[in-house]
């Protein structure tokens, strides 16, 4: 199924790189993909978000107005993007930072304590990989292997030692939700 998703959070939570990993993985699998960031003042500490499209069809507009899925890494993100999820679509909430429940009842909402899981693994910064794992578990948008493949490209050989940690984070995320 075509994925048109919005990933949103604070600047620094890794939402842009999460989107890029997904996009890159989609490209490796031979799908049509696009990644579009919000840019400007939001880059400096406010809400940052990106739109990702992964599809077998042609990518038309890279802007996602009606999302198949939204990943909200913080409360402002949930408040802003909850309404853009299509009926029957998916909302994944980082419940470590969002202590509120979603209003929508016509969509599938998952709460993932991403920061807590990441802390258990010894590095808060992999919270984005945890939540990405949850997203993959729900959608099967791309394979875990493709994500790890993309990550290798991003990290380069000097940071290759970080791969096992990220793989573990991805796995813990997968386990945190039902398929």
């Amino acid at each position: 199924m075509a994925q048109e998703l919005i990933i949103s959070g604070f600047g620094g939570q890794g939402v842009m790189s999460m989107g890029q990993l997904l996009t890159y993985a989609g490209m490796l699998e031979g799908k049509n993909v696009s990644w579009l960031p919000s840019y400007g003042p939001e880059m400096r500490g406010g809400t940052a978000y990106c739109s990702v499209i992964i599809t077998e069809e042609m990518v038309g507009s890279p802007i996602v107005n009606e999302a198949t899925a939204v990943i909200a890494m913080n409360l402002p993100s949930m408040e802003r993007f909850e309404r853009t999820v299509n009926p029957g679509g998916l909302l994944i909430v980082n419940s470590s930072l969002v202590n509120k429940k979603a209003d929508r009842t016509d969509i599938d909402v998952c709460y993932v304590p991403a920061n807590e899981i990441a802390d258990e693994l010894g590095n808060t910064r992999v919270a984005n990989m945890v939540i990405l794992g949850a997203f993959l578990q729900k959608t099967r948008a791309v394979s875990e292997d493709s994500i790890i493949e993309s990550l290798k490209g991003v990290l380069g050989s000097s940071k290759e030692h970080l791969i096992p940690l990220n793989r573990e984070a991805l796995k813990r995320g997968t386990q945190s939700v039902n398929p």
């Binding site: 960031p37 840019y39 038309g60």
Partner: protein, 353 residues
């Protein structure tokens, strides 16, 4: 070479380097900063030269100097910066020098905002600076096309000794899509007119746009316009999509053309046949293609979609000489048309008949 995922701005820069561009002069402005950053990093590695100039005015004049000396050269900026560069662009056009200018358009007038817009269309295709001249304007709608057009742009510039502009917008500059660089041999044509030093026994080269005699000045402009006629004949590029049985044809370029394609699919699902003419060259404008489809009986009307208050619509109307109604839908100031709103507009136009 395998596909890589790149931002539009990075793709422009990489494509330029692959096209043999070795000189870049620019000044920072959002949303095109990735271009100079990429060039600053990469050009020294390939024996090129990068300068962050003291202003856009200086940057374009460095381009003027480098182009005259025979270098393959470019600059990039966004709307307010392109306004400042118009002086130099006019000189470069007047002195008949090749170069690439990239405008990643943002909302205006004035300082405006950094969000995507297409409101520099008039400035790009109708002149921009002073005097009688034209700049070839290419409008990519995706990252792959952006990269391909950059490479073509340098060749067009050299072939006609004329500045070429790539007009994108903040969205195209910032978004990422896969892009593949076909490794091809770059051959840069000889530039016997370049000022590289006057060897004994050869004619002196002078880069100039001043004419003392009004008749000489007119003759020079007439010569330029002969050249422009050639460009109009040879360089028009356009994509037609779903026009064969369309009752409404959308005219849109760049980002808005992508939105239009989405909407065309949605409209089709509702049984409304909509097509798209997407000019890839904004100048020369694909007049003949518009004329051809305006003559088709199944085409009842046109709808121009732009991120401006309506600028390209004038060229659409001129092309079809108002033989069919030309509607307009646009957002401006950094707002991007929403597919849902555009679909409503199409349904409304269809109901009016």
């Amino acid at each position: 070479m395998a596909k890589v995922l790149m931002k539009g701005n990075e793709a422009i820069a990489e494509a330029a380097i692959q096209a043999g561009c070795r000189y870049f002069f620019g000044y920072p402005i959002t949303p095109q900063n990735e271009i100079p950053a990429y060039m600053a990093k990469m050009l020294p590695k390939v024996g090129g030269s990068f300068i962050q100039a003291e202003s856009e005015v200086s940057a374009i004049n460095m381009v003027y100097g480098a182009a005259g000396a025979g270098g393959r050269v470019m600059t990039s900026s966004s709307s307010p910066g392109i306004s400042l560069k118009q002086e130099g662009i006019s000189y470069i056009a007047g002195a008949e020098l090749p170069c690439l200018i990239v405008n990643i358009v943002r909302g205006g007038p004035g300082l405006g905002g950094i969000q995507p817009a297409q409101s520099d269309y008039f400035q790009a295709v109708k002149g921009g600076g002073h005097g009688d001249y034209r700049v070839v304007v290419l409008a990519p709608a995706g990252i792959q096309e952006m990269a391909d057009l950059v490479i073509d742009a340098f060749d067009i510039a050299d072939r006609y000794r004329n500045p070429v502009m790539i007009m994108g917008d903040g969205m195209l500059g910032q978004m990422m899509e896969p892009v593949e660089f076909a490794k091809k041999e770059v051959t840069i044509s000889e530039k016997p007119w370049a000022t590289i030093g006057n060897k004994e026994g050869k004619p002196r080269n002078i880069i100039n746009s001043l004419f003392l005699d009004t008749q000489d000045m007119e003759n020079h402009v007439l010569k330029l316009f002969e050249k422009y006629k050639e460009i109009e004949k040879n360089e028009v590029r356009v994509e037609c999509y779903n026009c064969e049985d369309a009752e409404i044809i959308i005219a849109a370029y760049g980002t808005t053309a992508r939105i239009a394609k989405n909407v065309i699919q949605k409209a089709g699902a509702q049984g409304i046949k909509v097509g798209l003419i997407r000019p890839i060259t904004l100048w020369p404008f694909p007049t003949d293609v518009f004329k051809k489809w305006a003559e088709a009986d199944h085409v009842k009307s046109f709808l121009t979609v732009e991120m401006s208050m309506g600028q390209m619509i004038e060229d659409v109307r001129l092309s079809i000489k108002d033989t069919k109604p030309v509607h307009f839908y646009g957002r401006t100031g950094g707002m991007v048309p929403l597919p849902g709103d555009l679909l409503k507009e199409i349904i409304k136009i269809r109901g009016e008949k």
